[in-house]
Symmetry: C2
Subunit: 369 residues, 2 copies
């Protein structure tokens, strides 16, 4: 094999597929990026068997062939090369030569025979969203997946399509995040659970432009994202997702309208007084025109008042401040509305159209206040 | 005590003195910042007994007094307050109240009675350099101090004044860095060893403007830096510094003139192939119009040619690539000149005026090449 392409194209391509290279594996071939120049195009592929990414890069094929290179070494070399044309060629069975201007690198290579290509997916039906929307939806829900594997389902996100609505849901046992977006067309109903890791990596790869589009298609076991010159294939998490509808209620006894920035800054300040792992709640005292936030720890105490517009009853309620911060950070509205039932029922932060709903369980603070 | 000052003044002042707060100590009072508003001015002080920093901040003293606050908590609170006036007051013997807009923080405080003020220094004679120059000189030498304490002297830098020249020297047993700058006046001869940590912290505090000046004065055991509203006092390292003059030689057998950026980029690329802790040298093969750089490791091999202008003999010599990189990174010249005697003698990188001299010992590569 012998190919020529620009450093910048190579850096971009390697950066994309590297997201599917496992950081730890016992199979050396999985640590590789496959360069496939066996046909008309140069394709880079990485695949950790859960997540596989393939991207096409522009360049010239001088001699057709396939080669697998260690992803870490290859990407480091490519990034540090001069900004010019790069030649990659097979030197012998297990050696590759990378040349750029007067710099020559010789590194170990593998034939690629053992490499696992992406599964071939028959694309019948797909939905289309913009890169911007997909990136936003992930950012606005990904923080409330569970990061351990005790419940596999919680490490993923529900993607539910019903007519022209895509609903994305994540939950970790203390909170639920829901984002709904309108699609351009109507589709058959579909419910899949996408691994959180896949979504995190996708979010890093896509540019986030409002113009660029991503096609999302599904098979029984896979979800496929296609955009620009890249295809991302991920296994789905098997099983049936949690029934969340019964946890959502539109009744409330207290409704608060508040400036988001002020509330977020105040809670952020309060968390200074909490050391990592310390489970001090922030106590919220809702009265007619103002809300007092209080926190007390071994380090000291803090209280602050914020003006609000309130409907309904007064309320004293406690929360894990991190959960409020996580939700408030991803909401783009200047003002948010909080709905409460009582000090033991979940709080809802949602907009009128319910394009987002954040449910957060309160904490019992009777013993600590 | 009760004072009012703007958040931004407070953030700036706390940022400066925090550099003298030890990260680990058994004496809680050393973890504190002292706020001294007992006279006409508000002064912040921190002192870890080796390095002490005092800075004046603008503000209003409503009630005179002194208070010591935990530096970490105090600085975190201050940074997260709204951008407005901050009131700091003593609430009781061991409580301080920090108020800004509607946010109120209560934290533990100490009386300040146990606090170690900076030593009172009688300033007879001092030299003046610009912030820019001091920052540059530190940056251009600090990388070759030794970071462990087996030889205390190597953890500091020599500051030697002779007539109108300030010479700054650091060395770690493998290399020597020397920077000379011209002072505006002539001074009595002086030789002191300044702890590397002091210089690192000073370098973070000073702004680096070409206009602003720093006064540097000395006592038997201390060096004092004064600039803007800040005084930094540091203990000196006792003893006599290494005699470096006998290690410097101006004879050479080979002289190479080379583009600095090209050389640096090439060595930087080559180090990709070396894992942390692996002691592979970079082999430099100097011929008439070009220099070939080669490196070989378990990961692979690399070679690259660079055009040079050469005087004298051909030479094959090996170096620890990191040492070359460290020196080249801090040289601002576009072209550098390298002087060699033979493969076992040190290489010198220096400019004609000898405003900088970097001596680097070669490594023996016969066994590894």
């Amino acid at each position: 094999m012998k190919i020529v392409c620009t450093k910048s194209n190579l850096v971009k391509g390697v950066g994309i597929v590297s997201k599917a290279v496992p950081s730890k594996t016992t199979m050396p071939i999985l640590e590789c990026i496959l360069i496939d120049a066996s046909a008309e195009e140069i394709k880079l592929t990485a695949n950790d068997m859960e997540l596989g990414i393939e991207t096409r890069i522009e360049g010239e094929i001088i001699e057709r062939g396939i080669i697998a290179l260690n992803a870490k070494i290859f990407s480091e070399i490519v990034r540090k090369l001069p900004d010019n044309d790069v030649v990659i060629e097979t030197e012998s069975d297990n050696q590759a030569l990378i040349t750029c201007e007067k710099a020559k690198f010789n590194i170990a290579a593998q034939s690629g025979d053992d490499f696992s290509y992406l599964p071939v997916i028959e694309k019948d039906d797909f939905i289309t969203v913009t890169e911007f929307t997909l990136k936003e939806v992930i950012r606005q829900t990904i923080f409330s997946i569970a990061d351990n594997d005790t419940n596999k389902m919680m490490t993923g996100e529900l993607f539910e399509i019903e007519e022209n609505i895509l609903k994305v849901v994540s939950l970790d046992g203390h909170r639920i995040s829901i984002r709904k977006i309108e699609l351009k067309d109507s589709y058959d109903s579909k419910k899949v659970i996408v691994p959180g890791k896949t979504l995190q990596e996708i979010s890093k790869i896509i540019g986030g432009e409002a113009e660029a589009e991503v096609d999302i298609s599904f098979t029984k076991n896979h979800i496929v994202f296609e955009f620009d010159k890249t295809v991302v294939v991920s296994r789905l998490i098997e099983g049936e997702y949690f029934k969340i509808d019964q946890m959502l209620s539109s009744d409330y006894e207290t409704k608060v309208k508040i400036n988001k920035r002020e509330l977020l800054d105040c809670i952020d300040r309060a968390t200074l007084l909490i050391k990592e792992g310390d489970k001090k709640p922030i106590i919220i005292d809702i009265r007619d025109d103002s809300m007092e936030l209080k926190i007390k720890s071994q380090i000291g105490s803090m209280d602050e008042e914020i003006f609000i517009a309130k409907e309904g009853k007064d309320l004293l309620i406690g929360f894990n401040p991190k959960f409020l911060i996580d939700a408030l950070r991803v909401i783009d509205d200047e003002e948010v509305e909080l709905y409460f039932m009582n000090a033991k029922a979940p709080c809802f932060i949602k907009d009128e159209a319910q394009s987002y709903i954040y449910l957060i369980l309160p904490v019992n603070f009777s013993a600590v206040a």
